[in-house]
């Protein structure tokens, strides 16, 4: 049985809307996303501005902890254009992250956003890896009130290294940052990437690949 479902489901809303850092700039005061528009466009089509209300720019509940009862001990609560339609065209989003003790947000990248993370509670070990050929790991242990930056497109991770629960709040430079979790993209794609390809890519035998696939 799949071990990632809770984590993956919690990312659903984050990805249903999508986006890239450094987005097209707004051409009006606001362009509230209209889910009933007959047209699909880059980003979202707009609601008639006369119909815009305060609630289009609003979301509640970010003070509520997500459920971290999953294999990774972590959960993401996204706040993107999928949750707040008023974010459309504005190039920014948020995400609340909850971590059980030793909970992990595993190595992943955001194809369309830089992330700036603030620790609200607990202590996190975080890091990102630069691109080829250096692949330098730049990492740090953060405590409450600390802030750290993950550059756009680079692989990064966060782990709760304190005794209790941890919480962080991230801001991302896209209305729809996108998430690519390395483990699920490489070993859990649908359909799968061939065993021979992965065995060659990681220079291991196919049985080792099969162990990595087992959770999906």
């Amino acid at each position: 049985m799949a071990k990632y479902p809770i984590f993956v489901l919690s990312l659903l809303a984050l990805v249903c809307a999508l986006a890239f850092a450094y987005e097209p700039s707004p051409l009006q005061d606001f362009c509230v996303a209209d889910p009933t528009s007959p047209a699909l466009v880059n980003g979202r089509a707009c609601l008639d501005s006369k119909l815009a209300q305060a609630d289009h720019f609003f979301l509640s509940g970010l003070n509520k902890a997500g459920n971290t009862s999953n294999a990774l001990g972590s959960v993401v609560t996204p706040v993107t254009v999928g949750q707040i339609p008023g974010l459309n065209t504005f190039g920014i989003a948020l995400a609340r992250l909850d971590y059980a003790p030793w909970g992990l947000i595993p190595p992943h990248s955001h194809p369309r956003a830089t992330e700036i993370l603030t620790v609200l509670k607990g202590s996190l070990y975080v890091g990102f890896v630069t691109s080829n050929p250096e692949n330098r790991l730049i990492s740090k242990v953060l405590k409450k009130g600390d802030v750290f930056v993950f550059p756009v497109g680079l692989v990064h991770f966060q782990q709760n290294v304190g005794n209790g629960k941890a919480i962080s709040l991230s801001a991302l430079s896209s209305q729809n940052p996108g998430v690519i979790t390395v483990a699920s993209a490489v070993f859990g794609s649908k359909p799968p990437i061939g065993d021979d390809i992965l065995a060659k890519a990681f220079q291991v035998d196919q049985s080792a690949i099969n162990r990595f696939r087992a959770q999906f």
Copy 2:
């Protein structure tokens, strides 16, 4: 005696670095701002990437309350490229806002950023005003865990409407959002805008203008 100094000083770092929403995108993994570069450029010149360290992407202390003992009962703690050099080229920044009871972040705009605010503590009345000719006020009372969006360039404000202290954390879509407080830009510029101009602009007599100038 000037009544704004603490508020104004707290904005100093936020503005010392500067920027516009929807910024030029990065042309390398990162371009850590180098304060010793011989060249001044749009944004900041870069440090040699080999010299970049984790601390260039890091800031501590955002858990500490600012001092709200000032006429407005509020204070801004900025987290822009001026505080975190690793934010350069990434189009994102943060600010912590502390409010004494009934404390106010007065009407202001960010010329280069949309803002997304999260209430960490307390209860806030917030609003923004659309551009001419509607000048529609879109406002809402927020409580802990609520999120609200202020579109780029529009005038907005936040007031603590709970009994105790309030705290919010804002993300902004620029490495250097800039702040234009209406009161200080119009009535407190150095040198001042002429009394006759302001009297005509606001359709009041010059004595009324003088009362507005008194605090500066």
Copy 3:
């Protein structure tokens, strides 16, 4: 009775279309705005390019003076994507400004455009105020044939300081620059910003605020 109606009405067309400086670049020779499109998008949807005609790129009448018989003694004639559909996707617009003697374009900002102004007739005192904390006023008296730049998002104003009428022509770096007049956004929003908030923001008592509201 409201004292701003003529000024406000003259801004209607300028704002009906809206926009931000540094706009998404065109992906075809032109994308003439189509008011009958079923879709609302960032900017405007396009007319079938085969139907584009010279008149879509054309406007007449910018040689005609606007009516300055209003409290401010000034009027704006906008030339944005709302008037010339062929401007869509092109990041540029114009405005003609007429000033009665001592007529004033009161402090305002354009959330989506830098402005470059040319004096066609008369003499103007113009200025802009930098963002916090400096709030430096940079100003100059201009005469016929002089040109001046107002940076995007900053508060600026223009006053006729000659004996006769004055005319200027402005170009703006957006198809829909937007206008935020400080007086009407702060004291004339619909619904109004609370008296207590404005009294605290400007550090005056509420009766002073009421005098500023009186014209709306």
Copy 4:
């Protein structure tokens, strides 16, 4: 003897600064171009903002007619970042155009800007040609107070078709629009494009090419 010198010289300042439409957006209130910077960058390096003065945002003399005593009977007075250093990073420029009777701004394109032209005096026949394969000419006779748009990168021209002098003022969506006059780029390049290439390109014999080269 060369027949274009006056026209070409008048374009010198327009081109000395350079640029493309839809430019990188500003990351600070302003970035006044600093001609003494040790670094050459995309656009211009910045002056220390504390040294910026009103004159950096200012130019005088646009009311003065240029000298149209040349073979084309026209002259361009550019107002780009080369003339106003405060335009740097702002994506906008101007040009005054003077036309003797029947004076012509010959077919040309701006590689980095859309142009919006206002007729200040006289009557102009203007047009632009769409890209391949249609190559449709979209043209119109303009009179005083008329406005017309020339899309970025497309070939366009303006001719004085009235009895007297004509004047127009153009705004362009770049701090440095660039000008490519077809005649001089194709027949007057230094060194020249080979006769055989041009003969084949235009499907004429080389003697015809030589007649076109004669003026350079």
Copy 5:
């Protein structure tokens, strides 16, 4: 009879889709162009992402030579968003160019793209001309395996200078680069630019203009 038809027809697809370099960035993983969308927008409207298939990102046949039996001895096979709908929002395209011996791609510009050309077979003489006032020709003879860059918006050309056929593959920085062939835009527009205008522009008599028009 027209001498350009084959060349012009081969450019048809290249231009049917259109675009500008430095395009709005994607706000989702992909936005496959949907030719059946009810809305026309800047670029293309999107297909529902669930319907996207591998074939939307695919084109075959770029190994096949085009037919160079035309007056210029050259043909362009475009690979833009018009041929591959999956290129929408991605700011890149290709073109295969075939040249008969001495075949020529005549002077032209791309209003929305820089081009980087690779010689796959044969030997080419290529060049581009800088903008006014220098109009400097920067040129080089290329052989198999050589690469050359043509900056966005500048006039450039390629000629086969080897004994046999030549082939090159170009990449362009737009999903719809656009092509403006100088000869056809200036002498072959529909309707034509007036003889008097062209005679004055090129400083030749109208009979010379007529010879240039003859092929259209």
Copy 6:
């Protein structure tokens, strides 16, 4: 002994220059990268344009096969701003890819570019994986003359599935696309990401992680 050195070394030049898709647009005809500039900036500082020569826009040797005698049986020959200084500010680059029989370009992403690949020789199996939560694999077998698109930031791979050698030519929408090979970023970073983190991320035991690390 490390098994990746040749592959990694061949990526060195590709990464030494860096960049992001949808880059700041050029503000002049060209800005040739100047390696001797005293300033480091986003992208590259410019050479004095008067010193630009044809060779700055030129590279030879792309017809030469790279050495595929390495564990992956593949090699990348990059053509970025690091190899052609004239590419600076132009948002485009190339790469030649050589594959031994069954040679593999392992799963990787480009943080700053979409890629469009053309098969010059042989037959390739290629695919990309969409972002969370779908992680859909979109793949296809390509033969000579086929073209395929890999969206910016998404994980993709190419494998030679023919009997002989294969060659492809890729264009990328950045002057410095960057490469993040999943295997080396996750299992081969310097210093390494902790075993416990990777074991939890992939839901395997630490001995399995050690087998994946062995090649580095």
